[in-house]
């Protein structure tokens, strides 16, 4: 099989649109590019079009308009050779009745066309890696959520894929299994390209370096995760100080008088500081530090309040919805 050119994006969608039976627009004009080595977090509320996008990329659905390319080639329901290089975990994976992990993995490996001398050693290695060696002969029907998730992971890796597409891999997992899954994604991200869809923004924040945000089938953000975070206006801080109580109270009064400070309160030795919407955080914080220095207070620590990815995501979605009809002008431009 020919390797794709090194500069070809691993996944590229151009004006990808999916309309179900002329009734429901699930995905609208999504143009996205994913370079080699990226770990893309796919964000969006329920029904935003995340799973539809993934199913179009893997070739389970055919686009109504636009194109989905994987490794530089157009994906279709019959692109078996392209799918040999993809490992996929659907949401809530289901398994055929009566199968054991060994028979299931063997079946899946055969579906990739892997010859016996490749698939048998790989099966054993993966069952050991996901800690299912002892349950290799047990019927999958009796498995817990965690075991099922581990088997799904092993299945997605049986063909040693270059691209992994995992649809909500941490869904329904207990904290321990979730932690293992996130660690695994981090490990895999060193050598593979990943697309991870999740409701859990903490998960995306932890393992992804790129993000794509879908809202009502529309791609409203696509790019590095830190860019998404930097879009979030950080105007809420907590400042821990140490020093004389009277000095702290005096400093508090001075800070309250600063023009760009909307609200400041004191709780023990922690200043809760909220800046005006249009304030330049760096400049205002400089003034605050100046006040603290003049009051001879020691700065113990400072941190931005709020989960940045979550706030950035909500902010994006909110802004997109507020734009109303004006969003049409962007498309016309």
């Amino acid at each position: 099989m020919a390797e794709n050119a090194a500069d070809d994006p691993v996944v590229e969608t151009v004006q990808l649109t999916k309309i179900y039976q002329n009734r429901h627009i699930a995905l609208n004009d999504v143009t996205l590019k994913l370079e080699r080595g990226c770990v893309l977090g796919l964000l969006g509320a329920n029904g935003a079009g995340k799973t539809t996008l993934l199913r179009l990329i893997i070739g389970l659905h055919r686009p109504t308009a636009g194109v989905a390319k994987v490794f530089g080639e157009e994906m279709s329901p019959n692109s078996a050779e392209l799918r040999r290089r993809i490992g996929y975990i659907p949401t809530n994976p289901r398994f055929p009745k009566g199968m054991t992990p060994i028979s299931y993995l063997d079946y899946m490996a055969k579906l990739f066309g892997l010859p016996r001398d490749v698939r048998k050693p790989r099966m054993g290695m993966l069952l050991r890696a996901v800690d299912l060696l002892g349950a290799g002969g047990t019927q999958i029907d009796t498995f817990s959520n965690g075991m099922t998730a581990r088997l799904a992971v092993a299945t997605s890796l049986i063909n040693d894929p270059d691209l992994l597409i995992w649809d909500e891999p941490t869904h329904g997992l207990d904290p321990e299994a979730r932690r293992s899954m996130l660690d695994l994604i981090k490990g895999l991200s060193r050598e593979k390209t990943l697309i991870v869809s999740s409701h859990n923004l903490n998960d995306i924040d932890e393992v992804c370096n790129h993000a794509a945000v879908l809202s009502h089938g529309q791609l409203i953000y696509s790019g590095p995760l830190h860019d998404l975070k930097s879009r979030m206006r950080r105007n809420h801080f907590e400042v821990d100080v140490d020093g004389d109580q009277k000095a702290v109270t005096r400093a508090l009064a001075t800070i309250k008088a600063l023009g760009d400070v909307q609200h400041v309160s004191l709780e023990h030795r922690r200043l809760n500081l909220r800046l005006q919407e249009d304030a330049v955080a760096t400049a205002t914080l400089g003034q605050v530090f100046q006040v603290l220095s003049e009051a001879k207070l020691t700065l113990i620590g400072i941190r931005s309040v709020g989960q940045q990815t979550e706030e950035a995501f909500l902010d994006l979605v909110e802004k997109e919805e507020q734009r109303g009809f004006t969003r049409i002008y962007r498309q016309a431009a």
Binding site: R55, L60, R62, R94
Partner: protein
């Protein structure tokens, strides 16, 4: 991908480069065989299939006992060809409903995340369809041949012998060809509908419509009714080679035609 230099100098040390991994020699038709094998085993373990075998076997045993009793009590001699014709007719007509359900569940029964798990791997829709179609055909025709062989064998032993072995085999073959058309149409409907029940209903409507159309066709065309009428003669060995070829051509044409239509449709369908 550029091949690495034979030796890489690293901090004044000679380091042998890692060997290139051997490319995997994928077996192009292994996915098809995997689906066929899994489907064949799945059909064998399904309660519908077991019910079909049980119903057909019970029907055969019941008819044997009745005819044997008739001979013992009333000394009425039953020609084996008539008994087998009744049985094959029973298997064909009586169990079409169950065979239809088995065939109609082939693809529709896996719609949803189970099909996702299979069709997201290195298999094309064509191979998947072929694997499913052949898996169901194999399972149902194997059941039919076994039941037919038991019937012909049992009748030859127990009842009055007017059946030739060759005629019996041809009769099983011809009725199997008719059953193959039902299975092929069932798998086609299974690819068209999202739910097995809808696919089975669609198949029954199709068979009913086909029955009406067959009724208006000239007698030269081997319709299922025509085959059943000829069965007693075929069992006695009164058939021509051309007749058998004609039946096989019609049944094969209908099966392959429906499979091509089903495949083309399935290859363009969202899962």
């Amino acid at each position: 991908m550029a091949s690495p230099a034979s030796t890489v100098k690293l901090h004044n040390r000679s380091v042998a480069p890692e060997p290139e991994p051997t490319p995997v020699a994928y077996q192009a038709w292994l996915p098809y065989w995997a689906v066929l094998e899994a489907d064949f085993l799945q059909v064998f373990s399904s309660w519908v299939y077991r019910s079909w075998i049980l119903v057909a076997a019970t029907m055969a045993i019941g008819l044997f006992i009745y005819r044997w009793g008739l001979y013992n009590e009333a000394k009425i001699i039953q020609p084996a060809s008539h008994v087998i014709t009744h049985l094959l007719r029973g298997i064909l007509m009586g169990s079409v409903a169950l065979v239809g359900v088995i065939a109609a569940g082939a693809i529709a029964g896996e719609r949803g995340s189970l099909a996702d798990s299979i069709l997201s791997r290195g298999i094309s829709r064509y191979q998947y369809y072929l694997g499913k179609w052949h898996g169901r055909l194999l399972a149902i025709l194997l059941g039919h041949v076994l039941l037919g062989a038991l019937t012909v064998g049992g009748t030859r032993i127990i009842l009055h012998e007017d059946v030739t072995l060759e005629g019996g085999m041809v009769a099983i073959f011809i009725s199997g060809a008719a059953l193959a058309v039902v299975v092929s149409l069932g798998v086609m409907m299974s690819a068209m509908f999202a739910r097995p029940l809808a696919a089975a209903a669609g198949l029954w409507v199709l068979l009913y419509a086909a029955g009406l159309i067959f009724g208006a066709m000239p007698h030269s065309i081997p319709t299922p009714e025509w085959i059943l009428q000829k069965l007693p003669f075929i069992l006695k060995g009164e058939y021509t080679r051309e007749m058998v070829v004609q039946v096989v051509l019609y049944a094969g044409g209908a099966s392959i035609g429906s499979a091509i239509f089903g495949m083309a449709l399935f290859a363009r369908k969202d899962l």
